[in-house]
């Protein structure tokens, strides 16, 4: 079997030639060694090469050949080149020596074989593939965004849970604090019934409730009441009695608080105060005497107004010092903080014996305040409920003048 076109009959060769040229532009160029166009033919117009001039540099007329000539290998093939819009061709390059051996010279031939149809077919397939790839890339990017958003969401959720836990902890702490404060307030209310507010707060803040338990302590007890109050209350209208008592209490209670005395009880016009319990104070006798003088002055001011209204009411005080049993007495719902003992009875009896404006004190008190108070000895007084008479003195006044001002100044130093 032979190869090459020689084996084909002329009819077949012609048919093959027709098939190669059918429906596509085929053209050729011939270029010499100096890159001058020396020949051109075929279907040049579809490539925009209809007006080529022979004898002119080829690259000036066929731009696609810029840089390609002279060719470095022959034959050389460059596929699917779109030389002009919408028209693609395969470019085939080859060289052919024209003269004999050693003469040099020759031509470079360029054949343009149109492949627009095949190129467009490839383009359609490739377009689909690339569109699909781009879609997959977008999907992957979208998935990455989704995953990132999901991770952020999970992180936010964890943070939220952590915040919620912290909030719960805060709530618990807050509840505990509220409960503690409520307990404190309850305790405070309990204390306020028999202590000055400042002392009650001090005790509550220390959290020590043991002071309410029964105990013994050396105290200065002060009793005071109004002289002629029983007669007045019998003759006056209840409203008048109530008004007078209100003024009386309003004047004395703040004084008791300012001297940090413990108010034991009110019984009508009678009032009992003691010092050195529950708050310890080294000068309980002096405080009691200074309070007594301040009370006397306050009631004296009130008495002047009462006298104008025709009420003859005086004021007497008794003070004693000694050991008493103190603490919470009573029963659930009705507790009092109170002092019980001879010292309390003694102060009450001294008060009974004191005339209007008098402050009767025991000898122990008198000795304790001799430096600060002007005293007048009353003598030995037999007191009801006591087996022996007691040496009693009256507090005439204070050596340092207005005792309240002096006291308060001393407190602030």
């Amino acid at each position: 079997m032979t190869t090459g076109s020689a084996q084909f009959p002329a009819q077949v060769t012609e048919r093959l030639r027709e098939l190669v040229f059918a429906g596509r532009a085929v053209a050729w160029l011939e270029v010499d060694d100096a890159l001058t166009l020396i020949g051109a033919g075929g279907d040049l117009a579809p490539y925009g090469l209809a007006g080529l001039n022979l004898g002119v540099a080829v690259t000036e007329q066929v731009h696609v050949l810029e840089g390609l000539l002279p060719i470095v290998e022959s034959p050389y093939f460059m596929p699917e080149v779109e030389i002009i819009k919408g028209r693609a061709a395969d470019l085939h390059f080859w060289t052919e020596t024209s003269g004999g051996e050693g003469e040099g010279g020759g031509s470079t031939w360029v054949a343009l074989v149109e492949v627009t149809t095949q190129r467009d077919l490839t383009q359609r397939l490739q377009q689909k593939a690339y569109d699909m790839t781009l879609l997959q890339e977008k999907e992957a990017a979208f998935n990455r965004q989704l995953e990132a958003a999901n991770a952020a969401l999970v992180a936010a959720q964890r943070e939220l849970e952590a915040s919620r836990d912290e909030l719960a902890r805060w709530n618990k702490t807050l509840e505990e604090r509220v409960a503690a404060q409520v307990a404190e307030i309850e305790q405070m209310n309990k204390m306020k019934r028999f202590l000055s507010p400042s002392i009650a707060e001090l005790l509550v803040s220390s959290g020590d409730e043991s002071i309410l338990k029964r105990h013994r302590r050396d105290i200065a007890a002060l009793f005071c009441d109004l002289r002629g109050f029983t007669a007045f209350s019998e003759s006056a209208e209840p409203e008048e009695v109530s008004e007078l008592l209100q003024d009386y209490h309003a004047a004395l209670v703040p004084l008791i608080q300012s001297f940090e005395g413990t108010l034991d009880r009110f019984v009508g016009d009678g009032l009992m105060v003691f010092f050195n319990d529950p708050m310890p104070c080294p000068d309980s006798a002096e405080r009691a005497v200074r309070l007594a003088v301040a009370m006397r002055e306050a009631v004296a001011a009130l008495s002047a107004a009462w006298r104008k209204r025709g009420h003859q009411v005086g004021f007497g005080i008794g003070i004693a010092q000694g050991f008493a049993t103190l603490g919470q007495i009573g029963f659930e719902g009705r507790f009092d903080y109170s002092a019980i003992g001879t010292v309390v009875n003694t102060a009450a009896r001294l008060c009974e014996n004191a005339a209007d404006g008098q402050i009767f004190v025991t000898s122990r008190i008198a000795v304790a305040v001799s430096e600060v108070a002007e005293l007048a000895e009353i003598g030995m007084l037999p007191l009801k409920g006591l087996s022996r008479p007691l040496a009693v003195s009256n507090v005439v006044g204070l050596k340092d003048g207005d005792q309240k001002v002096v006291w308060l100044n001393r407190q602030t130093r």
Binding site: E80, Q123, Y130
Partner: protein, 168 residues
């Protein structure tokens, strides 16, 4: 005054769908099409620029994008005076493709003037190529610019700069 006229072949290289054809279209025809049409083989275009006393005809070879299916035919680069590497700012993998292409071109044809364009700057909020990536390339001595074929930003400058470098 005599005017020198030169003709230079410039190739557009890069991954597929990075905007090579759109950049040429923007540069040559000042238009932009939203439709993406993949390039098969190569498309030839021409643009004439004047650089002082020089007139330079740029013969632009817009090569098919590089991807797994169609590897760049290095034969298209023959006779090229310079090239433009293009990457898509929204697809960081295309920068890797551009860097690999540059290595292949250099191995085959030696060092040639080139410009690296990070395209699609109009979609900056979707970029995955970072400023740090670009800064690193600049530190390594690369001519790197951002561009947008859609808006035209950076396109003219890139081609003019490359033309200046390839013109004798």
């Amino acid at each position: 005054m005599s005017v020198s006229v030169q003709q230079k072949k410039i190739c557009m290289l890069g991954g597929f769908s990075v905007g090579k054809t759109s950049l040429v279209k923007r540069y040559v025809e000042s238009v932009f099409s939203e439709t993406y049409l993949t390039t098969v083989g190569v498309k030839i275009d021409k643009k004439t620029v004047t650089l002082g006393d020089k007139t330079v005809h740029l013969i632009l070879w817009d090569l098919a994008g590089e991807d797994d299916m169609a590897s760049l035919r290095m034969s298209y680069m023959r006779g090229s005076a310079g090239y433009v590497l293009v990457a898509d700012g929204t697809r960081s993998a295309t920068l890797e493709v551009a860097l690999a292409l540059r290595k292949r071109v250099e191995a085959e044809y030696g060092p040639l003037p080139f410009a690296l364009l990070i395209n699609k700057n109009d979609l900056r909020d979707q970029w995955t190529i970072t400023d740090d990536d670009l800064e690193k390339l600049r530190t390594d001595g690369w001519w790197v610019r951002t561009s947008s074929a859609r808006t035209g930003e950076g396109v003219e400058d890139a081609f003019t700069d490359l033309a200046t470098r390839v013109a004798r």
